[in-house]
Symmetry: C3
Subunit: 349 residues, 3 copies
């Protein structure tokens, strides 16, 4: 697997560079950019993991948070700069939906084909459920509901206020999990601490830096192909954001989560799916709202009705599925069925 990512990166980055300069056919380049980003994402993931092991769990946790959704964040910033506000909000929606339904669904389904019942730490999961309810349901619904009665200036002020509160609560959550309540809710120490880092510190930082620069460049190019893609396939901007960009941005997590489920570590699959959603909802989204104030068009924390409902339904469904503390192939299939229904819906929009 790692060899495939190596050769994809070695081929993908120069081809992306060449294609961007020579102006090759956008549809083909969209595919090349997407595959290259996927390969680079795996490098960012592995470098972060090595650094986490070296730095210990506390700073490691912070690193994971910062770089965990680096790809989504990078794509979103370039899309924001280019004025594609609709696509940014759509891709955030897509990240939430595809983490909760596609990543978790595939993990539970494929893991469930091998194991009859896979158990996970229900305490951690419930902690995260409360945060999903807070972020996706309370924080995203509230500005939408009030938007009908407020002026756009008031909605902007409300967006900024909520974004700041979400970020503060997000860092409090890190402080809670990494400092004050570290290990309080742990079921067993799974002896993962004796892991060896893949790369040493210097090498990991170098790879992280190079991969980040490359992702930034390729993402910038990728964003420029959106319009051509929309035209040639007749897809709406919303479908591109919710489904395509989200699948590209989440592919690294997706692969890791499935691998963990197949190794019967479904605990980590749940952590990836839900934790990644929380990073998107409580960290990436409010950060983009605040960053957008620098650019010409400020981004309101205002999803469309369809996006909002899709995210809320995903949250309620995963809560119901996860509430019993174990998973099986059918629970995975239920999540996948919901994902397909949503994909069909967004396709028609």
């Amino acid at each position: 697997m790692n060899r495939i990512f190596f050769w994809t990166t070695m081929a993908g980055v120069p081809i992306s560079l060449a294609g961007a300069i020579l102006g090759w056919e956008p549809t083909m380049m969209f595919a090349i950019y997407a595959i290259t980003i996927l390969a680079l994402a795996s490098y960012i993931g592995r470098a972060t993991e090595s650094l986490s092991i070296i730095a210990g769990p506390r700073i490691g946790g912070l690193l994971n948070v910062t770089f965990g959704n680096a790809v989504e964040l990078t794509i979103s910033i370039f899309a924001l700069k280019a004025g594609y506000l609709t696509i940014v909000l759509a891709s955030l929606t897509g990240a939430v939906i595809s983490n909760l339904l596609l990543v978790a669904g595939l993990s539970f389904f494929i893991g469930g084909l091998r194991y009859k019942r896979q158990k996970f730490n229900i305490h951690d999961a419930r902690h995260n459920m409360g945060l999903l309810m807070f972020s996706v349901v309370v924080s995203f619904v509230f500005p939408y509901i009030f938007s009908f009665r407020l002026t756009s200036g008031e909605i902007l002020a409300l967006s900024i206020g909520i974004a700041i509160i979400m970020l503060l609560l997000y860092f409090s959550a890190l402080f809670f999990r990494l400092v004050t309540h570290r290990g309080v809710y742990a079921v067993e120490s799974e002896g993962e601490d004796d892991e060896e880092p893949e790369w040493d510190k210097r090498r990991a930082i170098l790879i992280l830096a190079l991969a980040a620069v490359a992702v930034a460049f390729v993402s910038d190019q990728l964003v420029d192909t959106f319009e051509s893609i929309a035209e040639s396939f007749g897809w709406s901007e919303v479908f591109i954001g919710v489904i395509l960009v989200a699948i590209i941005g989440n592919s690294a997590e997706n692969i890791t989560a499935i691998q963990m489920a197949v190794k019967n570590k479904v605990n980590i699959s749940v952590e990836i799916a839900v934790g990644s959603t929380l990073q998107i909802a409580m960290f990436v989204t409010p950060l983009l709202v605040l960053l957008s104030l620098i650019f010409a068009n400020p981004m309101l924390l205002l999803f469309t009705r369809e996006a909002l409902i899709a995210m809320i339904l995903s949250v309620f469904l995963i809560i119901m599925i996860i509430n019993d503390g174990d998973t099986n192939w059918f629970e995975g299939l239920t999540l996948l069925a919901a994902y397909i229904i949503m994909a069909i819906g967004f396709y028609f929009m």
Copy 2:
């Protein structure tokens, strides 16, 4: 009880036949048709039960599924053919609401008058909760939300897509419960396997066939009285569908569920109430959507706002009530109070 059903059938079928041919007064005939269907439903139920015992749990499970909501399905097909799309959707709504609130409510209340606390298998219940969330909340809400932005052709395509996915997931659920995970979540084998069938195989099939034909005929007549009923009592089509037709269609399950609760087998009451709702939502509803393509007017998977909210609220309420793993009279009363509130609401529409 069985004697009452016998004589009701013996009297009801010929009177229905006579009334239909001679064109007797519709209001009176509505009552006679309703009582006759109730009696016939008990025969279908008992014949299916006998066949289930003979055929063993796997095929028995399939039979239960196929004939469990045979009455609702038959009434709905005739109403569909007659073009009463509003009543069909309303009666599906009513079946969901009355199973979750009325059937479960009466069982918990009456059972709770005799026993202080009645426990049931929380694992099965939670499995079903996930499916309720998938079917009623995700699958029904999604086309509604998207309907504002889509053309009616796109809504039809979305309806058909969702209907197919729901049916596939429904059969996967059967495969899961009857094949791959049979007994995995069972708390105890309740020694029910040594039950004697009421009728032998030939007799059961004969009774099933006769009762099915009779139900089909009487349902066809019943549907024709809807208009007169609506006029003479000043009831809306929605009220007839949501409240009246649902009570008639569910009466057999209602009686069985209460009997089980009184015998302190509240496990089976929950299974009837929730399982029957799932059959309606995941099997009957999508099947009717697909069947309607044969008739002149295709039926969209598009409930009214009021119907949708009523179903969603019922699902959330039963989830909250059932989540603690036991029942008592007050939990039953809470469900009944919610049912009465909804009935009043639909009465005014």
Copy 3:
């Protein structure tokens, strides 16, 4: 603490009287009325507690119910009489939100600063969760959803019907907890029965009567300052109702709940926060609907969209937070963050 309340009452009541007669500056008087009501609320609370201990748990439970939200009820009746229907509905909304998010949030947060994990009786909490779902979600949402299709006369009839059902279910809940299922779900008897009453029976009744008369008078004056407050600060009626009046009305509960959490009796904090919400939703609200029929303008059971969503989100969030059976500082902070978001939203309205 009690001395502060004593001197506040001794000073507050005469100053309120003087200010009301001499027509002092409304903004200043608003503050004085608010502080006086807070002090009087503590007397009502302590007198009720003494009477409860003397009268035993059954009648004590009834007394607690009747006087527990006496202040909210009194303010609301005077506001209703003065025709401030918007403020009444807003203050009911505020009572629900601030009990669930502010009272519970502050208790969990401050209690959590001292104790790592605080456990409570999950069975009682789940019983109450079902009732929150019934009252706030089912009973409040239903008339709203139907209001688009009904005439105002029909909405009034629906409101009255729902109000009666809610009151009946509320008294059934008391009957359930105090009579048929007393102690059935108790985890341990906490030996609270050997408490000494602060005052004897005669004294408690006298104090209760005097405090009730004083609260009634000061509330009447408080309501008259709303318009001036709205004007001078540029606050909307909704903000005054949802945030200001609710904080004044709930301050007594708030202080008690925090004190209990600090004493590691978070069980009682949960009971106060959720139990008080249920009193507002299932007892005070329907009672006001019925009482309003006496006055010129009947009050419909019809919250605004924003108020309804705020209450529903609060219910879902507290359910998620409470579902795991223990609390910590971070869970408190999450509730407080949601409260601040809502306060900002209502501020802009």
